[in-house]
């Protein structure tokens, strides 16, 4: 069973990663001015504070818009491109898929593209989705607290979004109204933001100027499903509940009904554990 799941996820990752390597399906929309890397810690299970996970997220800020994506998926893209160039046999690549770093977050967020909105790209299994949200999602309350964080003079601001209250620290030293995830609208870059329960924490660990000519690419895959935030959430939730059968749909097969049962139990236990999404409502 595990083998089947691994194999399927491997094949999936590979095909997905493969698609991503095709620069033809991307459109350059802006020139990058600043590359910010955030250390992102999150707690998938609200009842277990030990299960903290970490990932690095990258925010690429351009003149007009910005792109937010996980560091690991950027690495996977470049690895695939590298394999492609070197002509390394896919048998070798597939036999050892673990060289590709995994990410829990397949989403990419483009702020101010289209103008005044943000586009959120995400996936449910193989299916690519995109939905738009207005840019001015956040009503910020600026407080008088100031602090020096990550080398910047920061000031505190608070907001609430989809069931969580956030405390953000922004700096006017970087004059972009930008931040990790969907967060934006402060008169300076968000250096640190966390919800009050500390379930989702973003901390800037580097802000560097990318090499001149670094472009911000928007994916333009023809097979992307345009949806709304609600539509995407429903699709994602359905898939989470129905995971085993969908694996079977994709060609997976369980030799033994007991294996299937066990796989299902495991999937359900996992669904129970991942009960703490960043957007609660």
């Amino acid at each position: 069973m595990k083998k089947l799941l691994t194999t399927l996820s491997i094949l999936l990752t590979f095909s997905m990663a493969y698609c991503q390597s095709e620069v033809e399906n991307h459109e350059a929309i802006d020139m990058a001015k600043l590359r910010c890397t955030y250390q992102f810690s999150y707690q998938m299970d609200s009842t277990n504070s030990k299960r903290l996970r970490h990932e690095k997220m990258v925010l690429l800020i351009g003149e007009k818009c910005s792109k937010y994506k996980s560091y690991n998926s950027i690495i996977t893209d470049s690895l695939i491109r590298d394999f492609d160039k070197r002509g390394i046999p896919p048998q070798i690549v597939v036999s050892d898929m673990s060289i590709f770093p995994k990410t829990k977050f397949n989403h990419q967020i483009f702020k101010n593209d289209p103008k005044g909105s943000m586009s959120v790209f995400d996936r449910v299994f193989k299916d690519k989705f995109v939905y738009n949200e207005p840019l001015d999602l956040f009503k910020w309350e600026v407080s008088s607290d100031t602090a020096k964080i990550s080398g910047y003079n920061c000031q505190k601001a608070t907001t609430s979004y989809r069931g969580r209250n956030y405390e953000a620290w922004f700096t006017t030293e970087i004059p972009f109204s930008e931040g990790p995830y969907k967060f934006n609208g402060l008169p300076g870059l968000i250096v640190k933001i966390a919800d009050t329960k500390k379930h989702y924490v973003f901390e800037l660990i580097s802000a560097t100027k990318p090499p001149v000519g670094t472009l911000i690419y928007l994916p333009t895959y023809p097979k992307t499903i345009c949806s709304s935030r609600e539509g995407f959430r429903k699709a994602k939730n359905d898939a989470k509940q129905d995971v085993i059968r969908r694996l079977e749909d994709m060609g997976g097969h369980f030799e033994n009904p007991e294996d299937r049962k066990r796989a299902k139990e495991r999937a359900m236990a996992k669904a129970r554990r991942t009960n703490n999404p960043i957007e609660l409502m």
Binding site: H54, S144, I174, T208, Y221, S227, Q241, M268
Partner: protein
């Protein structure tokens, strides 16, 4: 003026009359607003300029505005100050700042360009997240009283977690390798060690970040994955796991003892498993990796049966319901480090199994206007003994990746069969030993920027087998019509296979080309003789029943695989080209034939994705093959007691084509998934099976030259829908198949048509988190038509329901029922399972009551081109078993 007065009044009131506080606050919090427009020095409206309102010219901001696309901004603020400081800020324009009085006002700005340097920072991540390091956790510091095995401790280490199935995650991603003292004995099956290695024998757990196990790839790729290494406290750690089960009736047992030994230079895991509960533990020995399965297609080392006893067709469900066995299995896995790059692994297993198969069949053969009915009662006793040794030497260095596997297999199998056919019993003694030796080598080497792969396979096997049938059969042929005591068929097959290939992959933009060339040699020597036994005198039936066949096949092949992939369009083409020379001769009958064939079997796959919802998949394949896998015997061979077969050296050629088209629809938004498709195959064989059924029911099979065509059509569709409110999935599947071909039945060419229609439904529901329900059904109709008349129809249906209940943690209750209905027979099964995991999670108790209705036999119908066969099979009786498993 007014504001200043109010402010003063407020001060006084605040001190004197706190009651008025609320009123006063409302006045003081009256907002002021600054609006304005920002343009550049050449008159362009500027967007995204930050306008900061501060108390001082440095320090915190009170309020802010951001200019919109028209350059307009608005700042609303509240402050008690007389004057405020306003400042513009943006990346490309110079700062403008000014002091203002605190009032509603319009303030426009004209900004002048200025290139500013952004302040860069780089902060080192905390040491635990740092890459390129080996992090060592001392187990002593983390282990608690209740932690017995290493998995418990790993679960406590920061950054590491163990999932319910035993998978270990580091920073949320699965670890890549689980080494014990730097050795990889178990590959992916690290659970065995993780759940059994006592925590007290482990000194530390190391996390190796950025670890690339294939050294060859180390310079090429950078990896983010971590591996785990277990450092042992002592030089030797011995541990293990055991399971004991008993049951009734009859007396049942189930045992599993798995001791382990870990040491710095070598590792050992042994396992002894035995049961008579119908568990086919031999299945555990099989490996199912994709790589192995692919290899098996070309380079098979499976055991071969030359002859056979009359077998029973086994039911198509779990073996524990019908298998009457007594199995003992001993397996040993041993790993030894030779030097830094070189490892030797030995996996060996010894199996001893005794199986009883009881059942029978009733066969109706329709031959034009005749119908022959045959009834059989079958009791078979199978003895399986085998020893399989596998030696793997692997080199994993910077310049090479090499893996060589040497496999030696020996089987000492015996089968004893009793068939009672219309009350005349026939005894069959089949000795079917088999020995095989094979060597597989895979070598990957970089050459310039490309990767070359060399594969080599050599195998040799030997099968000296014999079949003794009592009393003698085929009296007309063997003993001029007189009955006699016994007949002995001896057969021996020796086979040598060699296959070498070299391949190179080339990628040019969207094209990927794989070039492969290879050479294959196959050599088969088949000898057989028949002896007649009558009145204790054994007579060699002579050259008429003797084969001494030599088969040689030499093949040179090349393959060009082409892939062209874009986002919507995927094309895969395989262009295999081969030249084969066959040389077949038989020394007894003095016949020799030669044949040269040149085969080209292009294969094409084309996928097109219209959009996110619709995909269209197409395949086309040219069929051109030589049927060289059939055995050739110029003289008759008694394959089983009722099949005497002679096959001449005709290497039949099949030509034709097959194609298929499928349309897939998936809508993840509404959770609907569906597909529908059609496949078609047309082939033309130059050989036809000459099938003669004798009066005594025995058969004579010969291949005759005769062109014949066969067609096959298949239409299928499936749809499923998930309803999220009910957490339930519904799915429906149907399939229709039509086969048309011709067969040689009783000296005449007969057209045969088979039709098959099936309908499957399935519901899976998880309405409650503590309960899980699954229901499946299948209806199928089989129709076969021989020579435009004579319709045979068989209807089948099955219903399966599984219910799983989790009333509390550590408790599990399962109920599964199955109802099967065939033409004229019904089968119903019910099983109950209760499972309790003891609190320390080291031991588990399971009670299992199977076949509650005590169904004694299973029967099914089988319909083929010219017959209906009703098979029945004796099942295991209703039984209760109690299992207890624990670690030591």
């Amino acid at each position: 003026m007014l504001r200043i007065k109010l402010y003063d009044i407020r001060k006084i009131l605040f001190k004197c009359f706190p009651i008025f506080l609320l009123f006063i606050c409302q006045i003081s919090l009256a907002e002021n607003q600054i609006t304005g427009k920002i343009v550049s020095n050449d008159g362009i409206c500027l967007e995204n300029i930050h306008i900061l309102l501060q108390k001082e010219n440095s320090g915190g901001i009170i309020a802010f505005g951001i200019s919109n696309s028209k350059g307009e901004y608005t700042i609303r603020f509240e402050t008690g100050r007389d004057s405020i400081f306003l400042k513009t800020q943006s990346l490309n324009y110079a700062v403008q700042q000014l002091w203002l009085t605190n009032k509603n006002q319009i303030q426009n700005f004209t900004l002048f360009p200025e290139v500013k340097e952004l302040k860069e920072v780089r902060i080192k991540a905390s040491p635990i997240r740092q890459h390129g390091d080996t992090i060592s956790y001392s187990v002593g510091a983390f282990a608690g009283k209740n932690d017995q095995v290493i998995a418990d401790v790993i679960n406590k280490l920061p950054g590491l977690e163990v999932e319910s199935d035993g998978r270990i995650l580091y920073q949320g991603t699965p670890i890549r390798k689980f080494y014990i003292e730097g050795m990889d004995l178990l590959e992916g099956k690290y659970n065995l060690a993780n759940n059994n290695l006592p925590a007290e024998s482990v000194a530390s757990v190391q996390v190796l970040e950025n670890h690339e196990p294939i050294k060859l790839l180390r310079n090429i790729t950078s990896t983010d994955k971590a591996s785990l290494n277990i450092k042992l406290k002592r030089n030797i750690a011995m541990t293990g796991k055991a399971k004991l089960g008993i049951g009734a009736s009859p007396m049942l047992w189930d045992a599993n003892i798995t001791p382990m030994l870990f040491n710095k230079k070598q590792q050992l895991i042994c396992s002894y498993q035995a049961n008579n509960m119908g568990k086919d533990v031999a299945m555990d020995l099989k490996t199912f990796s994709i790589e192995d399965l692919m290899d098996m297609l070309d380079n098979n080392t499976e055991k071969e049966e030359l002859l056979g006893i009359q077998n029973l067709s086994t039911p198509n469900f779990n073996t524990s319901r019908y298998l009457n066995n007594n199995i003992h299995l001993l397996s040993t896995n041993y790993l030894l480090i030779l030097n830094h790059d070189l490892q030797l692994r030995v996996n060996s297993s010894y199996l001893n199994d005794y199986q009883k198969h009881n059942g029978g069949s009733r066969s109706e053969y329709h031959l034009g206007n005749d119908t022959i009915i045959l009834q059989e009662k079958i009791n078979n006793r199978l003895t399986k003994r085998s020893l399989i040794n596998e030696f793997t030497l692997s080199q994993n260095s910077d310049r090479n990746y090499l893996k060589n596997t040497l496999k030696i297999q020996a089987y000492w199998d015996k089968q004893l069969g009793h068939v009672s056919q219309n009350n005349s019993p026939i005894r069959q003694d089949y000795q079917n030993p088999f020995q095989s030796f094979s060597n597989k080598l895979k070598w990957i080497k970089p050459l310039g920027k490309k990767m070359w792969q060399l594969a080599s396979f050599v195998s040799y096997n030997k099968a000296p087998q014999s079949l003794l049938v009592k009393p003698g059969v085929y009296e007309d042929i063997f003993n001029s019509g007189k009955s006699y005591d016994a007949i002995l068929q001896e057969a021996n097959n020796e086979e040598l296979n060699i296959n070498h290939s070299i391949s190179l992959i080339n990628k040019i933009k969207r094209w990927s080309l794989t070039h492969k060339i290879g050479y294959q040699h196959q050599q088969k020597d088949f000898d057989s003789r028949i002896y007649l036994n009558d009145n204790l005198i054994e007579t060699d039936l002579g050259k008429e029943f003797q084969n001494q066949l030599n088969f040689r096949k030499n093949k040179i092949y090349g393959n060009e695989s082409i892939q062209y992939i874009t986002e919507r369009f995927k094309l895969y083409a395989d262009l295999p080209l081969s030249y084969t020379n066959y040389n077949i001769s038989d020394k007894i009958s003095n016949i020799s034939t030669q044949k040269n064939t040149f085969l080209f079997q292009p294969k094409l796959r084309l996928n097109y994705e219209f959009n996110a919802f619709f995909t269209w998949k197409n395949t086309w394949k040219k069929i051109h093959k030589v049927g060289d896998s059939r055995r050739i015997n110029y003289a008759n061979v008694l394959e089983n007691y009722r099949r005497l077969q002679k096959q001449e050296a005709i290497l039949g050629e099949t030509k034709g084509q097959s194609m298929g088209t499928t349309l897939h629809y998936k809508n993840p938004l509404s959770s609907i998934f569906a597909y529908a498709g059609y496949t078609y195959m047309q082939s033309e064989k130059d050989l036809i099976l000459h099938n003669q059924i004798q009066n005594d029911g025995s058969m004579l099979l010969q291949m005759k030259k005769n062109d014949n065509r066969a067609y096959s059509h298949n239409v299928f569709a499936q749809a499923s829908k998930y309803i999220s409110n009910w957490k339930t999935n519904f799915s429906l599947k149907s399939n229709y198949m039509l086969d048309q071909q011709k067969m040689f039945l009783n000296e005449s060419m007969t057209p045969i048509q088979n039709e098959n229609f099936s309908l499957n439904g399935k519901i899976t529901s998880d309405v409650f988190s503590w309960m899980n329900l699954e229901y499946k059904n299948q209806f199928s109709w089989l129709m076969s038509k021989v020579d435009k008349g004579n319709n045979n129809k068989v209807k089948q249906q099955s219903h399966i329901m599984n219910l799983m209940i989790y009333p509390k943690d550590n408790h599990y209750f399962g109920c599964s029922s199955e109802y099967l209905k065939n033409e004229g027979s019904e089968n119903i099964f019910l099983d109950l399972i209760y499972n309790y995991t003891l609190k320390n999670k080291q031991s588990k108790i399971e009670i299992r009551w199977t076949n509650i209705f005590n169904k004694s036999s299973y029967s099914n119908y089988f319909v083929d081109e010219y017959s209906i066969v009703n098979n029945y099979y004796e099942l295991r009786p209703s039984q209760i078993q109690l299992n207890y498993s624990f670690s030591f």
